[in-house]
Amino acid sequence: MILAALVMNTQGKPRITKFYVPLGVEKQQEAIRTIYSALSQRPEDSCSFVETENIFGPDTKLVYKHFATLYFIFVIDSSESELGMLDLIQVFVETLDRCFKNVCELDIVYNFNKVHTILDEIVMGGQVVETNSAEVLKAVQDIWKLERVGDLNVPSVRGIGSYRSKS
């Protein structure tokens, strides 16, 4: 299972953090710091895997890829394929690139809620749900189209209309 998906820049600033296992806010920050310090020390041509036993427990490792100013990191346990994760990162980045046209760090910062939407289409509850970036893109664009339309016009949701005035 995927325990966490993170995007951080080469200065260690988190850009996207998503933990699929319950982890307190403090622990999350600690994990981010530990991961960053581990990654920033790695030489250029090292392998893409780092064991993370001291953060996420035994038998866990992180798989990361370095793109421009960003690290894309998936923390996995032994039930996922390390090399496969590298391709999953590839899928994620490809999708981002298609969404944002030459994605750069700023796109991710400014639109991090969108990035979350994309990530949710790829990984759900720690499991890979979709690996075809075209499919992901399609699903995400469906959502955004509908979001722009505004209020849902569906009878069954009318029932909760009473909340509208309150919120």
Partner: protein
């Protein structure tokens, strides 16, 4: 960049991100974020915030929290937002909620209703949003609320929804298997879903299920094989291709499942061979994902029942991985190699060079993985090389986690494959040096045991060679500047035990080194304890060899220091050393025989050697022993002491606190005089508890290594069935055992090293842990005591008249004590050399105590002695005038050694034991501390007398202890007396410290209150 403005983010958010990005320092960033949080706090509670605006705020909250700041004040707004009808807002709400909350958060309950509705929504995107949220937000209880809706969605026309519903169910299964156990057949059905993406979602769930119980799913093997076959043969739509590889994630998942199903199952495995061959053939070795599949094949092939042909291919691919320039493939190759050699160990040889390359690679992950592999490959033929590599890698590590793990591996390999004992010792030394206190104490024990027991064959010569080389290597190691405590303990023990054994080093030489060790670690009581004990042993060996021991000045200073130490343990050891110096060679040889650390010790639990004495005492009219529950007025003592004896207050105590009883000291902070008496009595348990808590807290930083041990120590004690009734004897014998006690105190090692040298030591080992036991036992009535023991105890500690004698006898004993050491020793020793059994126990206890021992045992010993039956006896004679007792007690303080020695007292009870002791030593009261303690401590008063006679330590603690009532008491009784404890009190470095360290004197100091509360009432009206 064009997208930045166009995606609905406001200018403000952009500004925030920008200003954080431009922040020059962490502090500046903090300021910006803090200002942002303040602003958000104000804004979100404003009435009538437009919903779009609110969404904006929530997004900013998420951002702020991602940076590590608390955004909890806005959680409720995010929850409200999930109720919104607008999909954008609803999704933003869900996003924020899933990021903010975990499944057990209180606010979840407010969302469950919304989720239920959304799951029923006609809009599949709403369903999807809810399903995504469900994966993160629900716990065991709330899962049940949405389960029916999620199950319904399994039949949703949209495959996207079905897929997510399966994922959600899988998540439920992970979270709470019981809640969805009835749905497990569903997962099998879903495997047949017409849409491959839904099927692949089911694979994730099935993987978990198969991991849990492969047998139940073995009948699905053909289904998996046929799915895999179809995938590999490209029969799925092009949509599932990834870089022209057909559905790689499905392939990988199925390969993993097949590995689980085929493990150890010949028939099942055979069904897979052809499809595996197909996968191997079709996978594209040029692409990353192709290699991912190939690697997965290797895993499967090496896990299932082996097929030689497939193994060959797997080995070939492994070679390719290892030879690759790509570090990722190398890593996978090393991993694969580890799998292949499990089946074909010879395979490793072809790849030695590649492995060595990886080992020397600067890439840390790769290096560690390689060490993992080597660890699995270790044999006695290559252990030296591998351990050498591990140790040199260990040198580069600086995080405790990895170091500990690597150290434990090195130790394991060294223990299993060590080519020679010498090598083992060297290796262990390196491990200790590098990992220091991360090494579990047990390892040190094993090392010492190895040295003590030798190779196992009865080759004395080889053993002594080994020991000599150990001594040499340790003398060399001592030259290094910084050594961890554990290693120093081992060194001290070895030097003490074997330092002078081969005659290369003179006693003075070794003693000098030992003094250096202690001197260079002033704060480490454990090491000091080991050091002084080692010196004691060396002196003892010298004496028993008939040589004159003339301590070097350095050592004298050291002993002087310890005599005034705040640690009663160290103090006791120092006194014991002094006592030994004054004894005759024969006696010393009996107390500390040469090289006897492996000898077994048998404990005579019935103390049958005292029968004669008991009988004669009974014949002379001594009262027979009365069990505690038959005595009245004693419960207070018991609970009192119990409370105070509990040094490990940080551990959970399950037994209820007793009803507040007068016994313990008032809280440290409280000025003793200011406490009105009744209050004090009321408060006591509370305060002593809080005191202890405080102590525990204070102690944490410096002594944390000790604490866990203490806890264990106590448990040890509890397990042993050593009743308090044996205690009197143990304390009487303790006169003799004292000397050794020092030995095993810090020298727990010796016991560990396989039994102890003296019989008595065993009894004191016992008694070491006994005190706790006794505390516990004392709380319960003890009807099962044998009459023999009762008699024994009674006669040992006399009838009711005892209390009268007691006050005096404390002093009397002191003066008569010095010489007493010998006689009982001889009495006790005989049972010693006998068969095993006790040995193991001793070493067990030793192991757990090893660290704690030095600081704790002495207190424990003291306690032992201090809680004889005497106090109880005392209270049975309530007519006694407390003042008289006090006077008896306090006089010694003022007149140091000129104590009244009522001859009667001396001859009766315990004293009779010491009659005819051959060498009345000149050392004076000082040397007698332990004995004194053992005898005097029992009664509160005599406890006080003890402390006052033998000088400061206990008194000091008394003062420290906030046993101020006592101080007051002494003050009121005798001004002079009180002045002494007071000055002592000031002398201590920290009240709490010394307090903490000396549980024993605490006990002693405190008992007065507990034993006889009436005493105080008398005093204070």
């Amino acid at each position: 960049m064009s997208s930045q403005g166009g995606w609905g983010s406001s200018k403000e958010f952009l500004d925030l991100v920008k200003s954080i990005g431009e922040a020059k320092s962490k502090a500046e960033e903090e300021r910006i974020v803090a200002a942002e949080i303040e602003m958000l706090k104000r804004r979100i509670v404003e009435p009538d915030v437009p919903r779009k605006k609110m969404k904006e705020y929530i997004i900013r909250l998420v951002y702020v929290e991602m940076l590590g700041h608390d955004a909890s004040f806005g959680y409720i707004q995010a929850v409200k937002m999930t109720h919104d009808d607008n999909l954008l807002l609803k999704r933003s709400g869900y996003l924020a909620v899933t990021l903010f909350l975990n499944e057990d958060h209180d606010l979840i309950i407010l969302i469950v209703n919304t989720i239920q509705k959304d799951l029923k929504s006609d809009n599949y995107l709403v369903c999807c949003a809810a399903l995504t949220a469900v994966c993160k937000l629900l716990n065991e209880e709330t899962i049940l609320a949405v389960l029916p809706q999620v199950v319904e969605l399994l039949a949703h026309p949209k495959e996207l929804v079905r897929k997510k519903a399966v994922m959600a169910l899988h998540r439920f299964h992970q979270r709470s298997p019981s809640s969805v156990s009835h749905l497990i057949p569903k997962f099998r059905q879903i495997l047949c879903d017409k849409d491959p993406s839904v099927m692949s979602a089911a694979l994730c769930a099935l993987f978990d299920l198969v991991t849990a119980d492969a047998n139940a799913y073995r009948n699905l093997t053909t289904s998996f094989v046929s799915i895999l076959k179809q995938v590999v043969e490209h029969r799925l739509s092009k949509l599932f291709d990834y870089h022209r590889t057909p559905a790689p994630f499905i392939q990988i998942k199925i390969l993993k499942i097949l590995a689980l199903l085929g493990a150890g199952e010949k028939h099942t495995s055979e069904n897979m061979y052809s499809v595996l061959a197909e996968v191997l053939k079709r996978s594209d070795a040029a692409s990353n994902i192709g290699n991912a599949i190939l690697y997965e094949c290797i895993c499967t092939i090496t896990t299932i029942h082996a097929s030689p042909r497939l193994l060959e291919v797997a080995a070939e691919i492994t070679s390719r991985f290892l030879k690759s320039e790509n570090h990722n493939y190398k890593y996978m190759g090393i991993d694969a190699l580890g799998r292949v050699i499990k089946i074909n160990p010879d395979f490793a040889e072809q790849h030695q060079l590649a492995v060595i390359d990886c080992l020397e690679d600067p890439d840390d992950t790769l290096k560690r993985k390689t060490l993992d592999l080597l660890y699995k490959m270790t044999k006695s033929s290559n252990v030296e090389v591998i351990v050498e590599h591990m140790i040199s890698y260990m040198r580069t590590l600086n995080d405790a986690h990895n170091k500990t793990e690597l150290a434990s591996r090195v130790i394991e390999l060294a223990e299993r494959f060590a080519p020679s004992n010498q090598w083992f010792i060297q290796t262990m030394n390196q491990v200790f040096e590098l990992a220091g206190d991360l090494v579990p104490p047990k390892v040190a024990h094993d090392l010492m045991r190895l040295l003590a027991e030798g190779a196992g064959e009865d080759d004395e010569e080889a053993d002594s060679l080994l020991r000599s080389s150990a001594v040499e290597s340790y003398l060399h190691v001592l030259g290094e500047p910084k050594l961890p405590s554990v290693l120093l303990q081992v060194i001290c023990w070895v030097l003490g035990e074997y330092g002078t054994a081969d005659g290369t080093h003179s006693a003075d030489d070794i003693i000098g080194r030992l003094c250096d060790v202690a001197e260079s670690h002033p704060g480490d009581i454990t090491v000091k304890g080991y050091s002084i004990t080692a010196i004691t042993k060396i002196c003892a060996f010298e004496i028993s060899a008939g040589r004159q021991v003339d301590l070097i000045p350095e050592c004298r200073t050291f002993i002087e220091d310890l005599l005034a130490s705040h640690s009663t343990d160290l103090q006791q050891r120092a006194y014991e050393l002094q006592a030994i110096l004054a004894l005759s060679p024969e006696t010393v040889a009996n107390i500390l025989p040469m090289d006897a650390s492996c000898e077994d010790i048998e404990v005579d639990r019935n103390l049958s050697f005292l029968n004669e004495f008991v009988e004669s005492a009974a014949a002379n009219g001594a009262r027979s022993y009365m069990p505690e529950n038959e005595r009245s007025g004693m419960s207070t003592v018991v609970t009192g002491t119990h409370e105070q004896l509990e040094p490990s207050a940080h551990a959970l105590r399950f037994e209820a606190y007793e009803v507040p009883k007068p016994a313990a000291p008032p809280p440290i902070a409280a000025a003793p005089a200011a406490l009105p008496f009744p209050d004090f009595e009321e408060q006591k348990p509370e305060s002593s508890r809080s005191l202890r808590k405080q102590l525990a807290a204070d102690r944490e930083p410096d002594a944390d290594s000790l604490n866990p041990e203490i806890v264990r120590l106590r448990l040890d004690g509890v397990q042993k069935k050593w009743g308090r009734y044996s205690q009197p004897q143990s304390s009487s014998t303790s006169t003799s055992s004292l000397d050794r006690r020092g030995d095993h105190g810090s020298d727990q090692v010796t016991q560990v090293g396989g039994g102890h040298r003296e019989a008595v030591a065993a009894s004191s080992i016992e008694s070491g842990s006994v005190s706790e036991l006794r505390q516990i036992e004392r709380k319960k009535p003890q009807p099962e005591i044998s009459t023999e023991k009762q008699r024994l105890a009674a006669s040992l500690f006399g009838g009711p008249t005892a209390s009268g004698r007691f006050s005096g006898s404390g002093g009397a004993k002191v003066s008569s004590r010095p010489g007493t050491v010998v006689q009982p020793a001889e009495k006790v020793l005989p049972p010693r050399p006998s068969s095993g059994g006790s040995k193991e126990k001793a070493s067990d206890a030793g192991i757990s105590k090893q660290i704690a021992a030095p600081s704790i045992p002495a207190p424990v010993d003291l306690l032992d002695m201090s809680d004889d039956n005497v106090p109880r006896v005392m209270t049975t004679a309530p007519g006694n005038d407390p003042f008289k007792q006090l006077e008896g007690l306090l006089e010694p303080v003022t007149t140091s050694s000129a104590l009244p020695v009522p001859p009667q007292t001396a001859s009766m009870d315990l004293m009779s034991l010491y009659d005819g002791n051959p060498a009345p030593s000149a050392t004076g009261p000082v040397t007698t501390v332990p004995d004194l303690v053992s005898i005097a401590a029992p009664s509160s008063n005599s406890g006080a007398s003890q402390s006052s006679t033998n000088g400061f330590p206990s008194l000091m603690d008394l003062g420290d202890l906030s046993a101020s009532p006592f101080v007051e008491l002494t003050g009121s009784v005798q001004g002079q007396a009180s002045s002494k404890p007071m000055s002592q009190l000031k002398k201590g470095p920290s009240r709490q410290d010394s307090l903490q360290k000396d549980a024993a004197s605490r006990h002693v100091g405190v008992t007065p209150t507990g034993t006889n509360p009436a005493l105080f009432q008398d005093l204070f009206g």
